[in-house]
Symmetry: C2
Subunit: 153 residues, 2 copies
């Protein structure tokens, strides 16, 4: 799973709306400037967020967007899936996007990527906008890669 700009932008704006939660609607222009997202691109993103029921909009001169649900009911996993489709690093380990490669019996490395999918999915489904915004530590604690992280990641 590689995060697209679109998903990145969506998350930026959602966390912005968590900041301003309860303080009335925020104009898309303001959201675009503050989070450095091209305004006209953001329009499409906001429509998708609205379709998902995560934000609501108020038209008119004093209009704008606001969070439509409590931040602890929206997870990073939901957002990433909505914009990205799937969390799995390869289709053959995806639950929804499963597409057999016709080589399962030969495939030796599938389980490694399945492990990554499981970890990723678990982490992202536990992470709500609220918990991440509050900076609460992630559960479960991931193993540390050690001090010598010189490799290309």
């Amino acid at each position: 799973m590689r995060l697209s700009h679109k998903t990145d932008y969506a998350l930026r704006v959602l966390f912005d709306l968590v900041d301003t939660h309860g303080k009335g609607p925020v104009a898309i222009r303001e959201l675009a400037e503050r989070n450095e997202v091209p305004k006209q691109f953001l329009e499409h993103i906001m429509l998708e967020l609205k379709r998902q029921g995560w934000v609501s909009s108020l038209p008119g001169r004093t209009g704008g967007y606001e969070l439509a649900r409590s931040p602890d009911t929206i997870t990073l996993g939901q957002v990433v899936r909505a914009f990205h489709g799937v969390l799995a690093p390869i289709d053959c380990v995806s639950v929804v996007g499963y597409r057999c490669c016709g080589q399962e019996s030969r495939c030796r490395f599938r389980h490694v990527f399945k492990e990554i999918r499981d970890y990723t999915a678990h982490l992202m489904d536990e992470a709500t906008l609220a918990s991440v915004h509050a900076g609460r530590p992630l559960f479960p604690k991931a193993p540390k890669a050690g001090r010598k992280l010189r490799r290309s990641v």
Copy 2:
């Protein structure tokens, strides 16, 4: 990190060469058929594997490819990086591919993806062709996502 077909193909062939290790060179045609990889596409992949020093080639009528190094000295991480560039799900948590988004001070969710990167990198750098081929359990054990895995991953 989303695995491309190219990386998938590269891994298929490498594990095939682990199977046939020590039994002489295998023709690219044979590798292509057995692993269901378009032959002419595989040619380019094999050249890259050769450039990386993982396989060696023998030209001529009885030629072909064979593993140039012991399977326990080649990791999935190395292969994926060679074909994919980077393991990180987003550039701002990448070590080599680091590209600042200009929003670090505002970014609330970076650490979640960093966690995923660290886990992924650790797992893939521990997984050698030999250990994966032998089906040895991965270290460290990833947390289980529970029984109710109905969500879209």
